[in-house]
Amino acid sequence: MRENLHRFFRAARGAGVHVSPAESIDAMRAVAQVGLADRAILRDALLLTLAKSQDEKLALGDCFDLFFSQPEPAQDQAEANDNGEASQEPDQSPSSSSASGAAEAQPPEGLGPLAQMLLSQDRNAMSAAIASASGAASLSDIRYSTQRGIFSSRILDAMGLQRLRDDLDELTATNPSLAERLRAALDALREAVRDTVSQGLALYAREEAENLRNEILRNAPLARIERRQVAEMRALIRQIARRLRERYSKPRKRQRRGHLDVRRTLRRNAAWGGVPFLTAWKRKHRERPKIVALCDVSGSVAQVSDFFLLLIHSLHEVVDDVHSFAFSSHLIEVSEILEKKPPEEAMAEIMSKVGFGSSDYGSSLVDFEKDFMSTLTPQTTVIVLGDARSNNLDPRADILRRVSERSKRLVWLNPEGRLAWGFGDSEMPRYATFCSVVRQCATAQQLERAVSDIVATYQ
C-alpha cells in the first residue's frame, strides 16, 4: 500500500497540489491511523493532510477519485503480487486461486499464464495483472502524450505478450476456434491497457504538460492568440497577478529609523523650552502605487489591452488606486466597469462603447486632457498601451508632454516590435521623447515584467 500512496503523491503533485516530503510523512501517519477500509475517511484524511487551501482540496479530491477509480486488485491477488513482479513472469504457473479455479473450465493445457487468464475471462485477475505490469513498466514516469505507445507496449511485454504470441501461433494450427477467442480477448486487453495508460497520463503528466503549455503561452504574442486559448491566457494572467501580489503586497519595513528628525523634535518639545524629552525620528514613507492607464482598444491592440486591464485590476492588494481609460477614436473612463463586472462582460461592454473604431490618438488625448487631467498627481505613473498608429491624424504629442510633466513617470507599452516603430503611420518616435520608458509588450512574459517594474518603483 505504501507503494500505492507514493504513486498517489506523485499524481497529486501532477494535479498541482504541493506535496512536500514532510506532508507525505504526515499523510502516511494519518493513513496508518484511519486505515484503508473506508474510502470516504481515507479521502478526508488525505485531503486534511495534503491539501492546504480550498483550491488544492478540489484538485486533490478530483485526483483522488481518478486515482482510485482504477480497478483495485482483489485481496488474494494483491498478496500474490507482493511477491514481486515475478508472478507475472510468463514461465511461472498461475498461483492465484481464482485464476486456477476458472481454468478448470478451460481445456487447453500448456498455455502461458496470460493466455489462460485471458481465456478464463477473470476480470479481477486481469486488472490486477495490468496494475502490477504498469508498476513494472513504471507508468508513473509518463510525461508526454507521445509516450503512450511505448508505455502500452512495455506493459504488454511485462504481462507476457511474447509467450501469448507463441501460444496463439500454436493454437491457430491446432485449435482455430480457441485461437479466435484468444485473439478477441487480446484485443480487449490492448484496449484495457490503452485506457490504463491514458489514465496514467492524466494522473502523472498533467504538471509537465501544463508547464510546457504555460511556457508556450507565456511567450505567445497576445494579439494573435486563438480564441480557444483566451480562457487559458486569462488563467495565466491571474497566476501572474497572484505572483506579483505575493511579491509586492507585503508592507516592507523600510521605515528608516535611526536618523533624528531635528525639526519635528524641536517642535514637539517646544513646551519644555526645547529640551528634547520626546524624540522624533525620520521615517521613509512608502507611497502606494497610483496608476493611470490609457489603453488602446482598437482592432489589433484590443486583445493586449484586455489582458493588461485584467492584470492591473487583479492587483488590488498592491495597487488600489487605478484609473483606467479606454480609447480608439475617443476616450472614456472604464475603471468602474472593470471593478463591477466579471472580466469577460466588462471587456464586452467596453468594446461596445469605444471599441472597433480606427484609432485616433490625437483626439483621444484631447478627451483625456479636457476631462481627466485632474487624475494626475506627481505620484502617478501613467501607462499608455498602444501601437501609436494614429492613421496619419495629428498625434498631439504636446498633450502627452503635459501629461508627462504632471506625472511621476510615463510608461509606454507597445505591442509592436521595435523594428516597426516609426514606419508607416506609427508615431512612436514622436511620443517616445516624452516617455520615461518605452518598452515592447507583446507577450504575457513581457507584460509581467513591465507591470512588475512599474510597481517596483514604488517599493
Binding site: D26, Q33, V34, A37, A40, I41, L47, S53, K57
Partner: protein, 315 residues
C-alpha cells in the same frame, strides 16, 4: 482491526461533540480524531460564522479540558502572546533585597570579586518567578493539557506566524534566559482563519488543513435542532431551505450558520408557525447585514419561500 477502531473512534468524536451541542460533519470529526492521533494542530478556514471558534470550545468542553484563547490582531507580538518579564516585580525585589545584597557582597574587597560572588548566585532575577506567562506559554504549562485556540491568525502579522512555528511543530518555546520550555502534555491546537490573507506555507505545512464551508441542508437542520430546540420541524425545514436559496444569490455577505441560528431564535420568539412573506421581510435584517443585500434579496422572497416549501414536500 485498526481500521475498525478508527471508524468507531471517529463516530465517538462525532457523538462527543454532538453532546456539547456541536453537530460536526464527518470531515470535521475526522480532522479532530487525526489531530489527536498524530498530534498536529488543525488550521480551520472558512467564512465567518460557520462555527470555527465554536469547534474549539466544543472540543474543550467534550474532553473536559481548559480552553486557552489567543485572539490575534495586527501588531500582536511576543510579549503579549508568549511571555513577558515582570519588570515592576524585578525592580521591587532589587529594592527590597538591597540590604541582603550588601550582606552577600560585603566580604568582597574589589569590584571584580563582588562580581564573581554575584555570578555564583545565578540569574535570580531572570528565573521562572519573574516570567509572566501569556496564552501560548500558559498552554504549554497546563499539566493536564488544554485546548489552545489561536483565533483569526490571518489578522496577525507575518512575523507572528514565524513565532508560532516552534510551538506548533514541537510544542515548545525557547526563552533565551531560561532555555527551552516543553509542553507537559501537548495541547490540542486549533487555529482559525478567515482567509483575509494567505498564510505562509511553513505554517500550513505544520497543520491539518480543514475547510468548513456552509453545511448541507440536512446537517444545518440538525444544527438548528440542537441549538434552538423550541422550533417546529416544518418551520425548521422551511427556514433552512430558504437560507440555502438565499446563499445562491450573489451577496456581499452570505448568511452563515450563526445567522441561521439567530434567525431561528427570532422566529421562535415571534411565535411563527411557518414562513410567510410578511415575517421574512420583517426579519430579513437578522440574516443579511448589508442594506444592498437586503434590497437584492427582497424581491425574491416569495419565490424562495415557495421553493423552500416545495423542496420540503419532496425532501
Amino acid at each position: 482491526m485498526a481500521e475498525q477502531k478508527a471508524s468507531t473512534s471517529i463516530e465517538a468524536v462525532e457523538s462527543g461533540l454532538a453532546a456539547q451541542g456541536y453537530i460536526a460533519s464527518r470531515q470535521i470529526a475526522t480532522a479532530v480524531y487525526l489531530s489527536q492521533q498524530i498530534e498536529k494542530p488543525i488550521l480551520v478556514e472558512g467564512p465567518a460564522g460557520v462555527g470555527k471558534t465554536e469547534l474549539a470550545k466544543a472540543i474543550a468542553a467534550w474532553r473536559g479540558k481548559k480552553m486557552i484563547r489567543l485572539q490575534c490582531y495586527e501588531g500582536l507580538d511576543e510579549a503579549k502572546a508568549l511571555y513577558e518579564w515582570k519588570y515592576a516585580k524585578q525592580l521591587l525585589y532589587t529594592q527590597i533585597l538591597k540590604d541582603k545584597l550588601g550582606e552577600v557582597l560585603g566580604g568582597a574587597q574589589t569590584l571584580h570579586a563582588a562580581l564573581d560572588q554575584l555570578h555564583d548566585f545565578g540569574d535570580v532575577f531572570f528565573s521562572k518567578e519573574f516570567v509572566e506567562p501569556r496564552p501560548l506559554l500558559q498552554a504549554l504549562e497546563q499539566p493536564g493539557g488544554c485546548v489552545l485556540l489561536i483565533d483569526e491568525i490571518d489578522k496577525s502579522d507575518a512575523e507572528f506566524e514565524s513565532l508560532l512555528l516552534e510551538i506548533l511543530s514541537d510544542f515548545q518555546v525557547t526563552i533565551p534566559e531560561l532555555g527551552t520550555v516543553s509542553a507537559i502534555t501537548p495541547p490540542t491546537v486549533i487555529l482559525t482563519s478567515n482567509s483575509e490573507r494567505d498564510l505562509g506555507d511553513a505554517l500550513k505545512r505544520r497543520c491539518l488543513h480543514l475547510h468548513i464551508g456552509f453545511p448541507e441542508q440536512r446537517l444545518e437542520e440538525r444544527i438548528v435542532e440542537s441549538r434552538v430546540p423550541g422550533i417546529s420541524q416544518t418551520l425548521r425545514r422551511q427556514m433552512v431551505g430558504f437560507i440555502h436559496e438565499i446563499r445562491s444569490l450573489d451577496l456581499k455577505k452570505l448568511p452563515s450558520v450563526s445567522e441561521t441560528i439567530d434567525w431561528a431564535r427570532v422566529l421562535v420568539l415571534l411565535q411563527a408557525s411557518e414562513l410567510d412573506t410578511e415575517i421574512v421581510r420583517d426579519t430579513l435584517n437578522v440574516l443579511l447585514k448589508y442594506e444592498a443585500d437586503i434590497e437584492a434579496a427582497s424581491p425574491q422572497i416569495t419565490t424562495f419561500i415557495a421553493k423552500a416549501a416545495r423542496s420540503n414536500v419532496f425532501g
